[in-house]
């Protein structure tokens, strides 16, 4: 394709610069969402009654279209990256809280009792027992959050060139160059798939006790809920 990588000069960025910007705008919010979600989820695990209202409120947040949040935030944070990143962090939070709560709750009582019997305090028990066992569930949530975050950054193009690779979409229309739109979609999708692969790799590295490779689970092999992407998917 001719001019596939010819980035229009109005973006004031190179192709690789746009990729870096896109990754930063997408991944920092996921990280922020994770850091916020851990304490919120822990509160929900500790105080059970808190979970349904938290889930309800976050679902409503999730339903507010990102573009609307961008536009309203412009008044406070201007046409900056921050305006794009704040709603993305909130969306990540919404996806991650149920994932972490389900993961931490799926830790068997015997395991917790054993840890307590070994003299683990609550903090150490949380960090060394509950969190590691919840890793598959947390990473399932992170995969969903990362994919949606990478996809949503593009919408930032609508509030004035804050969409990194999404800005190519606006230019594709402006200059009638469809190849720029192809470039944007393909690059974004490849980024999402690479990040997803990295998270799958991270899960394998973080859970060395799990069987490696493609797991063949029989129908009657009970899968711990932590591994079911459905639990995360459904909670959104």
């Amino acid at each position: 394709m001719n001019g596939f990588f010819d980035i229009p000069s109005d973006l004031q960025n190179t192709y690789s610069g746009l990729i870096g910007l896109h990754l930063r705008e997408a991944l920092l919010p996921v990280l922020a969402g994770l850091l916020l979600a851990l304490p919120v989820a822990q509160l929900c695990v500790r105080f059970r009654w808190l979970y349904p209202p938290v889930l309800g409120v976050t679902t409503v947040f999730y339903a507010i279209p990102s573009l609307a949040v961008f536009v309203v935030l412009i008044d406070y944070t201007g046409q900056t990256e921050l305006t794009v990143m704040i709603p993305l962090a909130v969306y990540s939070l919404v996806v991650l809280v149920p994932a972490i709560v389900d993961g931490v709750r799926s830790v068997p009582q015997e395991t917790l009792a054993a840890a307590t019997a070994m003299g683990f305090g609550p903090v150490r028990r949380y960090l060394q027992v509950q969190l590691p066992i919840a890793v598959p569930a947390i990473l399932a949530g992170l995969r969903v959050a990362t994919a949606s975050s990478i996809s949503l950054v593009s919408v930032g193009a609508l509030i004035g060139n804050q969409g990194a690779l999404g800005n190519l979409l606006a230019d594709a229309q402006k200059y009638d160059r469809p190849e720029l739109a192809v470039n944007s979609v393909v690059t974004t999708a490849v980024l999402a798939i690479l990040c997803d692969a990295a998270l799958v790799l991270a899960r394998t590295l973080l859970t060395p006790w799990m069987p490696r490779g493609t797991r063949r689970r029989g129908r009657n092999g009970t899968t711990p809920p932590a591994e079911q992407p459905a639990a995360t998917e459904a909670a959104r």
């Binding site: 679902t59 008044d75 949503l152 593009s154």
Partner: protein, 221 residues
Amino acid sequence: MNVLNFVNAFFSDSAHWHGYDGIPQRLSEHVQYTLLALVLAAAIGLPVGLLTGHTGRGGNAVAFIATAARALPSFGLLVLIAVVVGIGLLPVMIPLVVLAVPPILVTTYEAVRSVDPAPVDAARGLGMHETRILFRVELPVALPLVLSGLRSAAIQVVSTATIAAYVSLGGLGRYIIDGLYQRDYEKVVGGATLVALLALVTLALFWAAGRFAVSPGVRRR
């Protein structure tokens, strides 16, 4: 400068309540896009999810399709298809369906697969046909989870259908896009409020559907 003031101003302006740009018109357009996209996505995701879940085969393929579909940016797809085929319903429907298929497909697959094997074996021992096992034994037990997959897809579609306005179609996104270009925050906030309300109504509908359709024996667990 208060979001609530904007909401109040938007809803009390009678100009927003009638005509081609009125709330009833935009709301019905939005509901139409959402329903069409959901029906299309369910027509793809439900049969494939039920079949793969029932046979227990193709789990990797399901995961792969879901990952690939999630990786595609909705907004990028919208603009790309709009640039290539022109303005119409197609550029809106494809991203929305791509968005809605993964939750429906993955959840349905997992739901059917994680059904307790004992009743399924019992049904098979009774001589039930595989199709009947799927629809009379597995589906009723899996229904709560299947519905939750549909629900999360519906919420996402309701929220994302706003992008239809970017390619000159209607829907509640009209208020958000027009408000953005007119620097009319009242409109933006009003549109966002309507979308959030629609999402709440969707949640309520799925809750009611769950009460109505899920067998009491399954619900009690």
